[in-house]
């Protein structure tokens, strides 16, 4: 693997059994991502974007090929190693936010650090992360007391607090109105640029995709570079 690349997806294939049929979702997909580079992936519903994201996050394993991240191939790692690896190096932002409803904003953010076994300055770091997304004063509020945009900011704070090398964002503005979505994405890009993180963004939005360094379209199980007008 080229040392410039933080992520190298090597001809991965993935299929799913549906009844009697075998559905090939990814058919030898390739992708290389440099440090601090942002990549947008567009595609129709059902094209395999979620499957790709699962494989990139190490939540699932490819049938063939490999995902190499930080010079470590997923295929050689155990489930436990992969879980730890993901927790340490990757931040994930979901369309539906996915905050734990019975934890406050601060607790949701600090949870990511606690899962890694960190104990030093956990609360301070969580506070800082919330401050960076403009929600320090809402630290003790529960998700049920926050708006959609605020929830997504907390989710962003959670993904950034661990100082990940790679951010995976699955339609982060998909559940938000246009203005709020724009604000949230502005925040994401600002943080990514400021902290020099690599970003894989799955989106339907052309304007958002165009803000990334490169855009790919997932079609027929492979990625093709997309030229946006």
């Amino acid at each position: 693997m080229n040392q410039d690349y933080i992520l190298d997806v090597q001809k991965i294939k993935k299929s799913f059994q549906q009844g009697d049929h075998l559905i090939e979702v990814l058919k030898g997909l390739e992708l290389q991502l440099k440090h601090s580079e942002s990549v947008a992936i567009v595609g129709r519903s059902g094209s395999g974007k979620s499957t790709l994201l699962s494989l990139l996050a190490g939540l699932d394993r490819a049938d063939e090929g490999d995902v190499v991240f930080q010079n470590r191939g997923y295929s050689s790692m155990s489930e436990e190693d992969l879980t730890l690896f993901r927790g340490r190096h990757m931040g994930i932002i979901f369309q539906q936010f996915h905050l734990l409803p019975h934890l406050t904003a601060l607790e949701n953010v600090s949870l990511a650090l606690e899962i890694l076994g960190e104990s030093k300055d956990v609360v301070d770091r969580a506070y800082n992360s919330l401050e960076q997304v403009g929600l320090k004063e809402r630290a003790n509020h529960f998700p049920g007391q926050l708006s959609g945009g605020e929830k997504q900011r907390v989710a962003i704070a959670r993904s950034m607090v661990i100082n990940p090398d790679l951010l995976l964002a699955d339609e982060p503005s998909g559940s938000l109105d246009e203005d709020t979505g724009e604000e949230v994405m502005e925040l994401v890009f600002e943080l990514v640029e400021k902290k020099k993180k690599a970003l894989v963004l799955v989106t339907h939005s052309v304007p958002l995709a165009s803000r990334c360094n490169r855009v790919f379209r997932l079609e027929h199980g492979v990625l093709r570079p997309e030229v946006l007008e």
Binding site: R88, Q96, H98, A112, L116, G144
Partner: protein, 858 residues
């Protein structure tokens, strides 16, 4: 929308959520099944008793006196009976029978040729007596007896051999294999021996002061149905003045036979109500969560034009359909369980029961199930009226109106009242039913704020520790409603599991303690004639034994209390307390006199006698009364009671209320006179022998029987053994029913946990995505349920100590032993089982793959 469409909509709702329907219906049916099985059993048993009632009595009606039958009373009845009525007379008493080697207490029956009008005996050699078709089997000749089969071994005699009764020899003509009139009155302590009535009258056993019962039985000249017969018997009983004389009816006979079992059925029904309560807790939680998840749908329906009232009806329909399904399942399961219940109670059953007792138990169980659900429907469905359709465009997470505490309590009130009424119906007792409901609802009501307080405290505490520990505590403290629902269910389960063995242990210890400490008498001796007291004492003394507790027994009737006539209780008794009071009022009374309190007595109120009565004095003679008896017939210190002692009226004043330790098995009396009042009345004596080794006891019994054939004796040890065995059987039956309740509780736990886990699937998966290992997740869940189940089990165990203390204070004269070990062990066992159940329920959620978060939940 019309009813049909509402119904179809609710049916579609059920078909779309089959898992929820299954869990709900199973919960509902398990909650009802215990009650239905007991109702099945009760109906079956009582219907068979009713069918056999005339066989049990041996006649259509009868009249009984506990001494000689007063002629006037008998004539009152005879005058009102129709022409052509047939009758026979019978005497019965306790006596001793002696063979060459052994002696035994028997229940001796003097019968006439016409006995009985219904039913009969199955004899080992002659077969059925009386035979219907062929000519009558050979009736007893003079000098012959028929004895119960068990006496063959006990006395070591065979047919044709001789035994002694009342000092005279009788030939054993046959043994009785089956007696259609067999009851459990004596609990098998005194097997029956039948002889000719004229033979019995010639014995010196029936003398003045002796305890015997005279009965007259009648057969109606034309067929008469039970209801008409009962009505006639009631009218005849109103004519009787002497409380020692009572009418006998088939219904009374069957009530007597079924009394022990009916008491047990009462408690079995009560215990089964615990299953119902636990199931209701579970169902409430499940349905509430279900409705919470339907709020978006409800808001959508509102937006589409369906009124909240219609939505309420829709879900009421839904709830009703689910309850009906649950009831049907419960009926099916109870039919399967019914043979098990019969088997469990077979030791109390004098006959086999049919396997199906009709639809009535189902109707009762069904009514309880439906009505219970409807009464819970209001608090459950009330939130529907607070759904605001405009919030469909926003997050619906926090839109429900929080109802005030008073409003919440009031909404549960109808259900609580229903449950109370059910408990009274199940126990046939206002006191016990109320106490039962009081305990369970009280514990729940107490456990709720206590649990809330503990959770608040834990939340504020911010305990340190590993992540899985802190996450578990946070989940517990923040999903408060589900945590508390689980907590209360387990507290009640633990309480129930602890109460029955504790009460059994307390009773066992109380009964056995005197035996273990050798304070128990060996033989309880009765029917000692006055002139036999000294010779008996001498005989005992010659053998280095002392006759103890020698107490005179004088038969009497209560005529007036405070100047008012003491009438028999003729009205129908609705509760067990009324039944007991009625029995107390319809008996003659045994009196004694003594200067000091006996060792087994203590004074509760007032004073004991200070001196022998002075007949010259103007003061009334003094008596003291046992406190429970006083309560039952309404006596208090200062009251005057007028007695009839063999036609001599004697008035006395109550000066003291006593408590008696009945488990001392010493001669004890409800009413005690001061000396100098009834000393000269005709009397017999009671006494006890000291505790003896078996061989010596048998020898003493034989010796007394030989020298004093009219004296009867009860082996106290065998009474205790019999009592303990009965207690054990009853306790076993109750514990099986309690286990059913525990099973329901565990099933409720399983459904609640599984439901919770389903709700938290997303959270669990998210934790995996964030890097939490499956092991850590498992530990989180285990700690959560360990905390709830251990706290609840221990709490329930501790409360059970308090409950059994209160119970024993009010119902068992304060018999109570402090025992921490049993509740502790039960808590450990219950915690282990709960953990296993919780883990099984949560397992599938833990296994959900992390990538599902990106698919299923989007």
């Amino acid at each position: 929308m019309n009813w049909r469409n509402l119904g179809l909509l609710s049916l579609r709702e059920m078909l779309n959520h089959p898992r929820f329907v299954l869990i709900f219906v199973l919960n509902a049916s398990l909650g009802l099944v215990g009650l239905m099985a007991v109702e099945h059993f009760k109906f079956s048993f009582n219907s068979v008793l009713e069918q056999r009632s005339r066989t049990l009595l041996g006649a259509d009606l009868g009249i009984r006196s506990r001494q000689g039958m007063p002629k006037e009373e008998l004539n009152k009845i005879l005058e009102r009976l129709p022409e052509g009525i047939k009758s026979y007379r019978q005497l019965s008493l306790f006596s001793m029978v002696q063979s060459a080697e052994q002696s035994r207490l028997i229940s001796l029956r003097g019968i006439e040729r016409k006995w009985p009008f219904y039913g009969g005996l199955e004899l080992s050699k002659q077969g059925i007596f009386p035979r219907k078709v062929q000519k009558r089997a050979h009736f007893l000749k003079s000098g012959e007896v028929w004895a119960y089969e068990e006496l063959r071994l006990q006395l070591g005699v065979e047919v044709g051999e001789r035994i002694k009764i009342g000092g005279k020899d009788f030939r054993v003509a046959d043994f009785v294999i089956e007696d259609s009139q067999q009851t459990f009155d004596q609990g098998g302590l005194a097997p029956r021996v039948f002889m000719r009535l004229d033979d019995l009258e010639k014995l010196d056993l029936v003398g003045s002061g002796s305890r015997y019962s005279e009965r007259w039985y009648f057969k109606w000249p034309v067929p008469i149905n039970s209801r008409e017969l009962t009505s006639k018997v009631q009218k005849l009983e109103e004519l009787l003045d002497d409380p020692a004389v009572e009418m006998l009816s088939p219904q009374k006979s069957s009530n007597n036979v079924g009394r022990t079992l009916n008491y047990l059925n009462d408690f079995l029904s009560l215990v089964s109500l615990v299953s119902l309560f636990l199931a209701c807790v579970g169902l409430f939680y499940l349905y509430r969560s279900y409705l919470n998840n339907r709020r978006v749908e409800m808001a959508t329906l509102c937006c589409l034009g369906l009124s909240r009232k219609k939505i309420f009806q829709l879900y009421l329909f839904h709830l009703t359909a689910l309850s009906l399904l649950g009831t049907f399942f419960a009926f099916g399961i109870s039919l399967v369980l019914f043979p098990l219940v019969s088997q469990l109670l077979s030791v109390f059953l004098p006959f086999d029961l049919p396997s199906y007792s009709g639809l009535r138990p189902f109707l009762i169980g069904g009514s309880v199930g439906l009505l219970g659900q409807w009464l819970l429907a209001y608090p459950l469905l009330k939130p529907i009226f607070s759904v605001r359709p405009q919030q469909i465009f926003q997050s619906l997470e926090d839109d429900s109106e929080k109802s005030g505490l008073l409003s919440m309590i009031l909404s549960f009130l109808p259900w609580c009242l229903f449950y109370w009424a059910l408990a009274i119906y199940a126990s046939n007792s206002l006191i016990i039913g109320s106490a039962f409901v009081g305990i369970f609802i009280g514990v729940s009501v107490f456990a709720f704020p206590l649990g809330s307080f503990i959770l608040s405290f834990l939340e504020k505490l911010e305990l340190p520790g590993p992540l899985h520990f802190r996450l578990a505590i946070k989940t517990l403290t923040r999903f408060r409603f589900s945590s508390l629902s689980l907590f209360i269910s387990l507290v009640l389960g633990s309480l129930l599991l602890n109460i029955i063995p504790q009460i059994e242990k307390n009773l066992q210890e109380e009964i056995q303690a005197p035996a273990n400490e050798q304070r128990l008498p060996g033989l309880f001796v009765f029917d000692i004639q006055e002139e036999q007291v000294e010779p008996l004492k001498t005989m005992m003394k010659e053998n280095d034994l002392k006759l103890q507790g020698i107490s005179p027994l004088v038969r009497a009737r209560i005529m007036r209390i405070n100047g008012e006539e003491f009438k028999r209780a003729d009205s129908e008794s609705l509760t067990r307390e009324e039944e007991r009071t009625k029995r107390m009022r319809n008996r003659g009374i045994n009196l004694t006199f003594r200067k000091e309190l006996a060792e087994s007595e203590s004074l509760l109120r007032g004073r004991h006698f200070t001196q022998t009565y002075d007949s010259e004095s103007d003061e009334l003679p003094e008596i003291s009364v046992e406190y429970r008896y006083a309560g039952r017939i309404g006596l208090e210190i200062g009251d005057t009671v007028e007695f009839d002692i063999l036609d001599m009226p004697i008035k006395a004043r109550i000066v003291g209320i006593r408590q008696i330790k009945w488990t001392s098995f010493m001669p004890n009396f409800f009413i005690v006179f001061q000396p100098g009042v009834i000393d000269d009345a005709p009397k017999t004596y009671l006494a006890v022998s000291p505790a003896l080794e078996t061989e010596r006891k048998v020898w003493l019994q034989n010796e007394i029987t030989k020298r004093f054939p009219n004296i009867s004796m009860i082996d106290v040890e065998s009474v205790i053994t019999k009592l303990m065995s009965l207690l054990k059987q009853m306790s076993w039956a109750l514990q099986v029913m309690a286990l059913l309740s525990i099973f329901v509780g565990l099933f409720v736990l399983y459904s609640l946990v599984q439901h919770q886990m389903n709700q938290r699937k997303k959270d669990m998966t998210l934790l995996k995505v964030l890097g939490m290992r499956p092991n850590q997740l498992k530990k989180t869940i285990l700690i959560e349920f360990l905390a709830i189940s251990l706290c609840a089990s221990l709490f329930g165990g501790l409360i059970s100590l308090g409950v059994t203390f209160v119970f024993s204070y009010f119902f068992f004269d304060g018999i109570w032993t402090f025992d921490l070990l049993t509740p502790f062990l039960i808590a450990l066992l219950l915690t282990g089982v709960c953990l296993a159940v919780s883990f099984v329920a949560a397992r599938s959620t833990i296994k959900v793959r992390a990538q599902k978060l990106l698919q299923e939940f989007v």
